[in-house]
Symmetry: D2
Subunit: 132 residues, 4 copies
């Protein structure tokens, strides 16, 4: 498949991604150039206005980016990311789908779309990775 | 001072920002057009490569942006953010300083610099807010 | 169709976009939530390394964003943009396709893909607009 | 000084940056980690709303980024850029000041502030470069 032979191998490796996993984020799908991660929205994801905090949405997108990009090329770290917030989450889950836009020897670009479980688009994230 | 009469009033309000506070982020300073937030780096901030996860660095910067921008204008939410990762964190704490670049009636822009406690620049964050 | 009844009406209006038009950029397609603009690569688009300058690629993408967003909602101006350069242009033309991601009352988001006429992906642009 | 021994050497080299120079952009200052470029606002920089087009502001910032980053490290090309538009230009000139935030072996980050000659902040640009 890539760096990881199976999705369970990726899940074991990314248990080490403590910030994502202790905040309830899991890996749902993984294939060449693509990863889907999700989380159930809990009180600890909220901001002071009652919505899901930008940092929580970003972290889920960043996790999907890390999983997809490290499966495509081991030892890829983030260089830059941009996020556009599109609308407030209404549902009970957030789902982030990372898709490879470019995978070069040293730099790669992924686009991550975050939706809630009602199908609403919540955020658009672009991440640039650097492979050591 | 702004929306909040004292830093303690801001701290009480931002207790509602559960994603930041349950992940160990606190408000250190607050004044017109400026906020400083920080966190002690703990195991639960790590990524699978052993560094501080991009999502944790982003969340700290986003928290400083939220505190500064909501003090300057109540009910400001994020519209867009971009983050550049500059180097890996070496110290024991991360400090995010948000400074107002523009504060318009409906849109505002803040720049947030994240350093560690050895003085190393870790990340540069730009956030655009929208005041409802 | 939107603000403009026909593509020729849009072309007449955007003659006023002197920076784009004097640099050889034209409108090829326009419909709800979508615009395609292009330019023939000429010597005056080059940078000092001999490639197409980032500013020229950005300007073409920004033009497609302006055409699409102002057709969807009149009097939209740019608030923020981000561009990722994916590969150097090989062909003789650059084509920018802007697609609406979100069109709200005051803010909108468009994604613009720039390709050359060999089908190579050259750049990915995200633009946030503000409707006055 | 860097790649270029004098500012005139840099000016000669960047004559090859045809998109910037044919659109009236010039190099005013150059030193380690810093470049200042400017242009007189002319009709051909305008957009359809009568303001200076985003593409023209971006191109000036991108030019200052290219000059500073290539002086610091030869053969640096843009990987990613983000621009925030802060206010409309009122004066007769635009001035872009690029300052190095990070200069690594392969990647570098510059911040560029664009002001007009009345001192108004027009845009904030962040560029990531890749040194081949």
């Amino acid at each position: 498949m890539g760096t990881f032979a199976t999705i369970d191998e990726a899940r074991t490796y990314f248990k080490g991604d403590r910030f994502a996993t202790t905040n309830g984020m899991i890996i749902d799908e993984l294939s060449d150039g693509k990863a889907v991660c999700s989380m159930t929205i809990r009180d600890n994801h909220r901001n002071a206005h009652g919505g899901v905090m930008g940092g929580a949405i970003f972290t889920l997108a960043d996790f999907a980016f890390a999983v997809a990009s490290n499966n495509d090329r081991a030892n890829t770290t983030g260089l830059h990311s941009a996020i556009e917030y599109l609308s407030g989450a209404k549902g009970t889950r957030l789902i982030a789908e990372a898709v490879c836009v470019k995978s070069g020897r040293t730099t790669s670009v992924y686009e991550v779309t975050v939706t809630d479980d009602t199908g609403r688009k919540i955020a658009l994230f672009i991440g640039t990775g650097f492979t050591v």
